[in-house]
Amino acid sequence: MEKNSVFDRYVSGFTFLLGLLVIIYSMVLPKPIFAGQMGPGIFPTGIGVLIVIVSAVLFRESGKEGRTGTIAQPTSDQQVTTEKLFNRHLLIVIVALIIYILLFQILGFVISSMAMILALGWLLGARKWIPLTLISVLFPTALFLLFGMLGVELPAGIIHF
């Protein structure tokens, strides 16, 4: 529980500064050409002010919780996550996504997606090769054809249909 409020403190501190920067940035946006017209900076300034206010309140709130430990307990125990914030699986997925995005245009949607499902499935612990291979081949192909029919353009990469 303690960790939650520490996180909230960082977040609210960050958004407080963000809000201030938004206000300053919006002030220097150009003024409207005609009098009475609302300039581009008015609305963002308002948003910035609101962010600053709510961040300040959240900062105070999280400080209180951190000291007294009175944060409301989650009521249904199935929702309590005891896992660490980052584990091996999550890092694998994020790295896989980065590689996938990098290869997306070079290899094309179909091939990079096949590789993605195959590699990610294996890394996450799938060991039944037949269903894994079938899904990784059929699923991207089916999506490619479906989107093709719907007229959405995708990078074909090195295969051209």
């Binding site: 939650n4 996180f7 977040v11 609210s12 958004t15 938004v22 946006l29 150009p30 409207p32 050409i33 009475g36 017209q37 609302m38 300039g39 008015i42 609305f43 963002p44 948003i47 609101l50 962010i51 709510v54 961040s55 959240l58 709130e61 409301a72 989650p74 009521t75 249904s76 929702q79 996550t81 896992e83 914030l85 980052f86 699986h89 999550l90 997925v93 994020i94 996504l97 980065i98 995005i101 997306f104 949607f109 997606s113 993605m116 499902i117 990610l120 499935g121 996450l124 612990g125 269903p131 894994l132 899904i135 699923f139 479906l146 989107f147 719907l150 007229g151 959405v152 353009e153 995708l154």
Partner: protein
């Protein structure tokens, strides 16, 4: 023309083979989305937006709305069989539904859930059908000041109800509004918050944020929690059809749940999840069988399952008649309609009767399809949950990236997607609700536009918002939406249990 003639025209559109097909696909995907715990109606609808890009508007909205109300049906299946709610709106169903399954009455619980969902779904479409056009007639007199105040009320109400901490909900809302400011301001032509990055000059598409925060964020959360112990699963034994006694006992809860759900759904802020909790609570107080609650009372399944469907239908009322969504999922539907060049609102019934009435007619048909799908095939849908996560998660990732690439057409969109996915993961872990962010993102540009128009009307005087009576009332409601939950919270902590991760 009266509404029935319009409705007939709507059926003319909804009953074309193409639209019947889209309604069917919509409710089918909706049921699956409902069954799968990792993916909710918001991600389901958001993931479909890119797919429906090139469809005509009526078909697109028929498909996406089908996912929304279809998810309300599917949510109960895993609540009852597995004690793992597929959606937050079916959390309360598990209390008695799982108990019924333990006692070998899974079949009756599932069929009562389907019947209740059908009755409530049909009731709420009927109400939408009856009330929608007259509400639109009132709203047609709304000018920019009224719209601004209305949207303000909608936003405060949603953030006011959402989440464990209202401050986190408000922060999420304001950050969403801020994200919507990125890009070129169409009136003055000046770029805002782009910092010279040309990819940002068109702004950040709300689909990227929705899919990132919801679909990808959910994938990341599921992956971290993967390989947890499995719960005992109950098979559907014997007949599915409930006994006459069970049916009789369900009539009252279904009727009350439907009405309650609908009206709660119409209000901004209180979505399907709150509706299901309130309906359950009501039955627990007034039922003759209240001593059986928590031990497998059929009322405890009938009432919340009716209420969440009623609420899903009710939430369509402000979306279609006012153009102001009261929940995260309807905000995504609003964004989807705007992509198709349609701004929902009072003029929708006049200008785009094919969309408005086609949708309403398709909802009657969709609910019927769902009843048929869910009664005999419920066992089949329950099997969806057997698909191992190791296959499912990469597939959701692929659909997400594919959708975003289809929308943005460049790799920059994919990097943003990853960024918002990670943000969404942190938000989920630390109880920052995502729905207000999407709502702010979709509504802020509309609010700015109304504000501008209102200030032109008044020559720059902000008093215009308080001298016009309707606008003043809406502003007072907005103030009440901030103050009332504070008072409620002090009185009883009842909402606390609902608030953990609401589908708004």
């Amino acid at each position: 023309m009266d509404i029935w003639q319009h409705l007939l025209g709507g059926f003319g559109i909804a009953l074309t083979p193409m639209n019947l097909f889209y309604a069917f696909i919509g409710v089918l995907i909706g049921t699956m989305v409902g069954v799968l715990p990792g993916i909710g109606p918001m991600s389901g609808v958001a993931l479909l937006i890119p797919v429906t890009y090139n469809l005509n508007t009526a078909s697109a909205i028929i498909l996406m709305a089908g996912v929304y109300y279809g998810a309300m049906y599917g949510g109960s299946t895993t609540s009852i069989l597995l004690n793992t709610p597929g959606e937050s709106s079916s959390v309360v169903t598990a209390l008695d539904g799982y108990e019924m399954a333990k006692r070998g009455r899974a079949g009756s619980a599932l069929s009562i859930a389907a019947i209740g969902s059908f009755v409530a779904g049909t009731f709420s479409v009927l109400m939408l059908n009856l009330l929608g056009p007259s509400l639109a007639k009132v709203a047609i007199r709304f000018g920019p000041p009224e719209y601004f105040s209305l949207m303000l009320f909608g936003l405060t109400a949603v953030a006011g109800f959402a989440g464990k901490s209202r401050n986190k909900a408000f922060l999420s809302l304001f950050i969403g509004m801020l994200i919507s400011m990125i890009g070129t301001d169409l009136v003055s032509g000046s770029e805002r918050f782009t910092f010279g990055i040309s990819n940002l000059s068109d702004g950040i598409d709300f689909i990227i944020v929705s899919i990132g925060v919801f679909a990808l964020g959910e994938v990341f959360t599921t992956i971290v929690e993967m390989n947890k112990g499995k719960q005992t699963r109950f098979r559907i034994e014997g007949k599915i059809w409930p006994s006459r006694e069970e049916l009789r006992r369900s009539v009252g809860p279904i009727a009350r749940g439907s009405v309650l759900g609908f009206f709660i759904g119409v209000l901004p802020g209180a979505g399907a999840t709150i509706a299901s909790f309130i309906a359950y609570d009501l039955e627990k107080r007034i039922s003759k069988f209240r001593h059986l609650f928590g031990k497998g009372a059929i009322e405890g399944v009938a009432a919340p399952e009716s209420a969440n469907n009623g609420a899903a239908g009710g939430a369509m009322v402000p979306l279609l008649t006012l153009g102001v969504p009261g929940s995260g999922t309807t905000a995504i539907l609003l964004g989807a309609l705007m992509i198709h060049g349609i701004t929902p609102g009072p003029l929708l019934f006049e200008k785009n009767p094919d969309v408005a009435w086609g949708l309403i007619a398709s909802m009657y048909i969709g609910n019927l399809m769902l009843l048929v799908l869910n009664l005999p095939l419920v066992g089949l849908f329950a099997k969806i949950i057997d698909i191992p996560q190791v296959y499912l998660l990469p597939m959701i990732i692929i659909i997400s990236t594919l959708g975003i690439y289809g929308v943005s057409g460049n790799i920059f969109g994919l990097w943003l997607l990853l960024f918002f996915g990670i943000i969404g993961y942190f938000m989920k872990r630390y109880d920052y609700p995502g729905a207000p962010m999407i709502l702010g993102l979709v509504l802020a540009p509309l609010m700015e536009q109304s504000l501008r128009q209102a200030l032109i009307m008044s020559n720059g005087a902000y008093t215009i918002f308080v001298v016009r009576p309707i606008s003043l009332v809406l502003l007072l409601l907005a103030a009440a939406a901030i103050v009332v939950p504070l008072l409620l919270r002090k009185k009883n902590g009842k909402f606390d249990q609902v608030e953990k991760d609401m589908e708004l």
